[in-house]
Symmetry: C2
Subunit: 266 residues, 2 copies
């Protein structure tokens, strides 16, 4: 159904704004994504929003028309509103011309097919949604299967994480599990668990990576718990030529993943 909304106090606007809050997203089982490019990527990956929200009064774009047609054909809602209201919904001063409400995906680790990719990313207690979205984006770039979130991570369906993922939220699988669940699942099949570590580690450039390779990084300030590092099949070190003893978590995951990609394709 297509309808126009121009009032800030409209219940649909309140509903949409509430989706910036994790509690409400969880209750509704949906999340917000914004931008024509991202929504087009989603559409091409088979993900249509159940609700499409567009700013009126802009020049039409063929991709936006295609998106609207598909959402309408699938029985979804199309909302036309003002740029100001769209800005309020997405929390951005210069909002994209369009946003969509998507159903959350199945995030159970048991639903992952580990044979679907040679590389998987694993994040433990990652607190920054920007880092999380950046890891999804890197995962897409290295052809990873997805991102597995261990313990208490930031919400991958937050507006910030979805934005930083640049669309990879729709191309990468996302799973959430406790360490015990993940580790139990991992050991039921093939899988090499790798982490950057200072404990009994080998140089990352000469390590023997094997598919499916699970590249794990830890919390931004604490790093990985010792028990998790010990459980890894391979611990690697990266050069640290300066004063710092660690990289940004998303950066470490990327440098390591690109090395794994090169090794596995060699």
């Amino acid at each position: 159904m297509r309808r126009e909304i121009t009032g800030f106090s409209n219940p649909t606007v309140k509903y949409l704004r509430s989706l910036r809050d994790k509690k409400h997203r969880k209750r509704e089982g949906v999340f917000l994504a914004e931008g024509l490019r991202l929504l087009t990527d989603a559409r091409e990956c088979g993900h249509l929003p159940k609700m499409l929200v567009m700013a009126g009064g802009r020049d039409r774009h063929p991709l936006l028309d295609a998106l609207e047609a598909d959402v309408a054909a699938a029985g979804g809602d199309v909302i036309v509103t003002t740029p100001d209201i769209l800005s309020k919904i997405t929390g951005k001063d210069n909002p994209q011309a369009v946003a969509g409400v998507f159903e959350e995906f199945d995030t159970s680790v048991g639903s992952l097919d580990r044979t679907a990719a040679s590389i998987w990313l694993v994040a433990q207690a990652l607190r920054d949604p920007g880092n999380l979205g950046t890891m999804l984006r890197t995962g897409d770039a290295v052809g990873a299967g997805g991102l597995i979130l261990i313990d208490d991570c930031a919400d991958p369906f937050s507006v910030e994480a979805v934005r930083a993922s640049m669309g990879a939220i729709f191309t990468q699988r996302v799973a959430r599990a406790s360490w015990g669940e993940f580790h139990g699942w991992l050991r039921q099949g093939d899988g090499q668990l790798v982490a950057a570590s200072l404990r009994d580690a080998v140089p990352y450039r000469s390590a023997q990576y094997a598919a499916p390779c699970f590249v794990m990084v830890g919390n931004e300030s604490q790093g990985l718990p010792e028990e998790y590092e010990t459980a890894c099949d391979l611990r690697v070190t990266m050069p640290m030529r300066g004063r710092a003893d660690s990289l940004n978590a998303a950066v470490a995951a990327a440098v390591l993943s690109y090395e794994v990609l090169d090794t596995l394709e060699r």
Copy 2:
């Protein structure tokens, strides 16, 4: 001088809070950095704050005592305040126990000694202070000389950039220049300018890097202007196995820098 401040309306508190604003930082020629570890790193690199702000009523720490003694000996101010006020100053809910006001460094590109390091990072119109701080942190890790900011970048002295740099703001040189200034300076001596690009590029794993190597990344949404890519000595591509055609800017800089580091040390 050591003094205690407990009122939010104290002029010093207002001054400190104003430093979260770029305009005020620029006028005063100073910036804020927070955290005992970061301030200790700064001290060990020869940077003492002209004003040290500590939350009272906490357990003393030998490193904090050492910091206070050095600041006092250098004629700096030591302010003891409440955790609430410190929180207001740094804009963080759970503030670090200490913050410092530092003089801004010389950021002229002409003051850089290119022979001091084999790798330099260059960012063009980078808008996200977190990305900028992360690049500084990566620069420290790969032993880079510093980060050169081209055109209209985020402020490297913002609280967010300093925080994300994890202390690298004190170990890396930071320079700011227009493209013309930078390019003119670069061509006055040795220096290989490298960027990730899709134009006439070679695979990043087999490229011939040469020191001093200047690794350049562009704006988060626009990438590098064509003219800047054309001016590079070397254009390299990184594998993109998914739908996305680019990496996060700080991630691209890191993956490329680690490759350059490995090549130059081989």
